[in-house]
């Protein structure tokens, strides 16, 4: 699995697949049973860790510490000078819209604003590698959009961004590339488009101009039929062309599409096939 600079990669897998463990391993918190993690061709270690921004799945900061002090503190721990840390803290608090709360204790902030502080902490040192465990969990649509924009921006600035998520529609919208894992092994990796097209499954959707009394596909399985439209799941062994012709023969067609499975279907398919 590769996370190149400038890329934004969604890290997918069912619960217990090993996503969090893999991410923790990058920042050195767990020992690997096997395999290696390298960054710029050298194994990850202290020097890489200070250039890595990490947002753990279980959020948590110091409850009784002013948020500005807090973000500066983590910048300092990442090796920044006091002045740099202060400047970047102000930048990110401003960018995340919480600069007016800079002198509030974390515990006095709403849950959503605490999430923003958490993000500021992982961004303050302008990391070249950004690892985020479920960054969209618990965000309202506005906050999710901010998060989405910032992640895309970081990738565009040349950072390598890896984030895990269960919100597959969000992932499909946000990133070109995904990695799907289960039981600690990579099931699929690559661009969302390629993975979808690589699937042997296709879904045929037909809409007729006038109601059709009854229709059954030549082969494949009928998912839905309601006189105006039909949805059929097809596999590679099915004759797609014959099915299309069969649908057109039933009546005048206003719309006909042949779609590879969506990311969510693909995900279920891959994981179930593995199990």
């Amino acid at each position: 699995m590769h996370v190149p600079r400038g890329s934004l990669i969604g890290f997918l897998g069912p619960n217990g697949a090993g996503k969090t463990t893999a991410m923790r391993a990058v920042v050195g918190m767990v020992q690997l049973d096997g395999g290696t993690i390298t960054w710029d061709a050298s194994p990850v270690g202290d020097s890489v860790r200070t250039r890595t921004g990490y947002m753990p799945q279980e959020r948590g900061l110091y409850a009784r510490m002013k948020i500005r002090d807090q973000v500066v503190y983590f910048g300092r721990l990442a090796g920044m000078s006091a002045a740099d840390a202060a400047a970047r803290t102000d930048h990110w608090l401003e960018r995340l819209g919480i600069s007016d709360r800079a002198d509030s204790m974390l515990q006095d902030l709403s849950g959503g604003n605490q999430q923003r502080v958490q993000l500021a902490v992982s961004l303050v040192h302008d990391p070249e590698l950004l690892i985020l465990d479920e960054p969209f969990a618990g965000l309202d649509p506005v906050a999710a959009e901010t998060m989405r924009a910032i992640l895309a921006e970081r990738a565009a600035d040349g950072a390598a961004v890896l984030f895990s998520s269960h919100q597959l529609d969000m992932v499909a919208n946000l990133c070109e590339d995904v990695v799907i894992v289960t039981n600690g092994t990579v099931l699929a990796a690559g661009s969302v488009e390629d993975l979808r097209l690589a699937s042997p499954k296709r879904q045929l959707r037909v809409r007729w101009m006038d109601p059709v009394d009854s229709w059954t596909p030549l082969d494949g399985s009928l998912v839905l039929f309601d006189q105006n439209r039909a949805i059929v799941d097809l596999g590679t062994h099915h004759d797609v062309g014959a099915n299309i012709a069969h649908a057109i023969a039933a009546g005048a067609v206003s719309e006909i599409t042949l779609e590879p499975p969506g990311l969510d279907e693909l995900f279920v398919e891959l994981v179930e096939a593995d199990a």
Binding site: Y54, M55, P56, R59, L77
Partner: protein
Amino acid sequence: MIWTIALRELQTRGRSKGFLAITGILFVAIIGAAIGISIFGGDDDASEVTIGVTGPGVAYVEALEVGSSEIDPTVTVLDSGAVQAVEDGDVDVLFDGSSLTWDGTPRLRLDSYLRLVARQVQLAERAERLDLSDAELSQLFTDVQINEVRLDGGDDGFGVRLATAGVSGLAMFMLLQVWGSFLMMGVIEEKSSKVVEILLSHVRPSTLLSGKILGLGILALLQMLVVTVGVVIGLSLVRDIEIPSSVWATVPLTLVTFLFGFAFYATAYAAVGSMVSRQEDATSAQLPAMLPLLAGYAIAAGSIDNPDNLVAVIGTFVPFTSPVLLPFRTAMSDVPLWQAVLSLTILAGSIVVMVRIAGRIYRYSLLRSGTKVTFAEAWRNRNQVGL
């Protein structure tokens, strides 16, 4: 990095009201106690007393008025209503030549003064009746000289020694426990709030732990210094009591021992703190770290009469008990230099061992939330963490 962490500990703890209040109270209490001792204790000045005499007692007026280093008497001759004067408190005691009348319990020093004077006067009268010459008289009254040989070199001030030993032993026991718990609370706070996961994405567990110990250690030392200054000021306020040299030796030794003891125990407290996930479990979690400290204090408390007994001496070389026993024994008796040096050397070496063992428990347990981590589990998996 360590300094950044230490600085945060210094700032958050040092600014806390609890720390400032405890330090202030300790300082004031110690000086207050010293002032109290010098005013009310001691009996340094001769106490002023009023002695009433009546009947044959009148013959003793001249002798009674002489006084002593402890008694500064005013003698009043009473006739009728002499007993009433005692009851009214006009005189402290009434002497009629053969008996002493008190209103309540006799005052020891005054009582022995009166008996001594009466005895001298009566002896002089008897000598006169025997018609002895002046030379014979003076020979008779020459004091019998009993010399004193003290194998401890005449080092007085057992009370001061005991007080110093008690204070330093108790201070070690309490401060190590208090600061150990502070450290443990900080560890649990970081673990329960999950902030530790971000901390560990930046720094190694050993760096985090070292920073915390350093920060709190500086604060604890500052507090110790304040207390010590209080003790020194207090001791110098105590007038007319000679401070034995062993007491002065205790002060710097206690500071050094505290530093070492803190590093040793703080690591242990951090390890047991990292094994629980909630502040509620802190009390039971700290027992394994606190009991050895308590044992040290118990040995000290049981060794007041004989500070050089075998258990106490052995305890001086055991790192778990030496932080309490070394200052205690130094104040109580003359601990040979080699014992102090050996004790501190063993303690310093044990810090390294403790950091290795407890540090591993700490780094494994920090990321295990949920149920309490057991020692066996932590030790088995000590190498699982990739840092």
